[in-house]
């Protein structure tokens, strides 16, 4: 099988059952993406495929041979952090760090979705859904953090999204 991950081409011999997550971790040494539940419930395995965030545990590597795959390693490196990686560091957006690569990849995908104008479950108006803290929490609900570093994760994402304090906590209509 052939793959393009983080801009690099790879030829790999792998069992047909190999998930995209196992391909990265076990065959390519890209161990940043984590295996949490292996059932799409925790988000620790989140990668970007053709720019979209997905759970890499719930997809077969063989189905992604012609895709552009980006893992946490491809977003940034210690000497050259992606803005979200830097913001997670400065806001302490983790404790044990196990969910962090998935959180960051998910946040990259999520900010792109928001830029495209995609609404969420908590958007009052589906055609006009600016980001705020509540929106960030809902849109990131596919990433579980066992240490519950959620407030700091939201802080980090809000900073990269360029949200002011007023934008983060607008007055919301409370449903009856």
């Amino acid at each position: 099988m052939h793959f393009t991950i983080n801009g690099q081409h790879h030829e790999v011999e792998a069992d047909i059952r190999t998930s995209l997550l196992d391909l990265a971790r076990e065959h390519l040494g890209l161990t940043g993406s984590k295996k949490g539940c292996d059932h799409g419930q925790c988000g620790a395995c989140t990668m970007l495929v053709n720019g979209r965030r997905i759970n890499s545990c719930l997809t077969l590597a063989v189905m992604h041979q012609d895709d552009e795959i980006v893992t946490i390693e491809g977003l940034g490196q210690p000497d050259k952090l992606h803005p979200l990686q830097a913001a997670f560091v400065s806001h302490d957006g983790y404790q044990c760090g196990y969910c962090t690569p998935g959180q960051i990849c998910s946040a990259v995908g999520m900010l792109d979705e928001a830029k495209k104008g995609w609404p969420s479950h908590v958007s009052a108006d589906l055609t006009d859904a600016p980001l705020d803290d509540h929106e960030i929490s809902e849109r990131m609900s596919g990433n579980i953090c066992r240490c519950a570093a959620y407030p700091n994760i939201v802080d980090a994402i809000a900073e990269v999204a360029g949200l002011s304090d007023e934008q983060r906590q607008p007055e919301r209509e409370v449903a009856a």
Partner: protein
């Protein structure tokens, strides 16, 4: 996971041709199928990859309706302007389901065909008529909190877990398919799912190897208000305990059109003409809404842990109807 052979199809015709034997299944987003294959609840011998089929477009039809390709991801469907503006209940239902990552993968066809979340269905050590016909139903006397109160049989009390399908039922969608012999079929969503009866492992009227190619929505109901209300154990990223999709119009102070479908209550996205008959022609009132709930639950049966769903769904329906008919 058991091993399998793999074929990637580039056209719908090739996909049905490649689906050439028992034990052959299509894989779209894979978010349900692979989950079940990891647990060996499903053990297909061959996967036909349909994820690259050119069926990922949403198109307007001349009659004012929409044709949705079976491979349109749930996230794209939810964010589509035409869907938001004309079929808001569908966007709302999709956005209430799963997570951002899953919606990016989950396909329109795959969502309709996702399997139940009954705990015992997932547990190979427990008897389950849906997984292994004839072994019995562990949920009947077991933990059945999330399971069905409508349309059950003595052989299975599973629910259909989809949010999207509930909205599709309220919108009178039609499922378009391609059969192995090359014939196309159009199946109303109202005829698409089957009650469990004594064959709970057969969930739809699809024939083996039949491919969903599209889902069609008829022209939207003029002037209707749309609501999707989902009640679950946590505020996000959980399956419905109860959900209600409603499309309602009020004219001259009376309910003129009502389409109501329910999730979390039955083995299929549930709809019952008697509920709507109790509403149409009535002035909106809690008495009318209560009569609709009475109609919905006239044959309901709880199984212990899930008894609470009946009063919960009653209140959810009434709250939804208030919202749909508020001035």
């Amino acid at each position: 996971m058991r091993s399998f052979t793999y074929a990637r199809a580039d056209t719908a015709e090739q996909a049905v041709r490649d689906n050439d034997a028992d034990g052959c299944v299509f894989i779209a987003g894979g978010t349900n199928l692979l989950d079940l294959m990891k647990l060996q609840v499903e053990t297909p011998e061959k996967l036909v990859d349909i994820s690259r089929l050119p069926l990922a477009e949403i198109e307007e039809r001349e009659d004012g309706g929409l044709t949705i390709g079976a491979l349109v991801p749930n996230s794209d469907l939810a964010a589509d302007r035409r869907v938001i503006e004309k079929y808001e209940v569908l966007s709302r239902a999709l956005l209430a389901g799963a997570s951002g990552q899953l919606r990016n993968k989950a396909s329109t066809g795959g969502n309709l065909l996702q399997r139940t979340r009954c705990y015992y269905f997932y547990d190979l050590a427990s008897p389950c008529n849906k997984r292994e016909p004839g072994t019995g139903c562990s949920a009947m006397g077991g933990f059945n909190r999330v399971l069905a109160v409508l349309g059950t049989s003595e052989h299975c009390i599973a629910t259909h877990p989809s949010d999207m399908a509930v909205a599709m039922r309220a919108l009178d969608a039609t499922v378009v398919t391609l059969k192995k012999d090359g014939d196309k079929r159009r199946i109303s969503i109202h005829d698409f799912y089957r009650l469990p009866g004594d064959t709970p492992h057969i969930e739809t009227v699809l024939e083996p190897g039949e491919l969903i190619t599209h889902v069609e929505l008829p022209a939207p109901v003029e002037g209707a208000r749309h609501v999707y209300r989902k009640v679950r154990d946590r505020a996000s990223y959980a399956f419905a305990l109860v959900s209600v999709a409603g499309v309602v119009t009020v004219e001259d102070g009376r309910i003129a059109h009502a389409a109501l479908a329910f999730g979390g209550l039955g083995p299929m996205p549930w709809r019952d003409d008697a509920v709507e008959a109790a509403l149409v022609g009535q002035a909106p009132s809690d008495a009318a809404f209560g009569a609709a709930a009475d109609a919905l639950f006239r044959d309901a049966q709880g199984y212990g842990h899930n008894d609470f769903k009946i009063p919960l769904a009653r209140r959810t329906l009434i709250a939804t109807l208030r919202e749909l008919t508020a001035e």
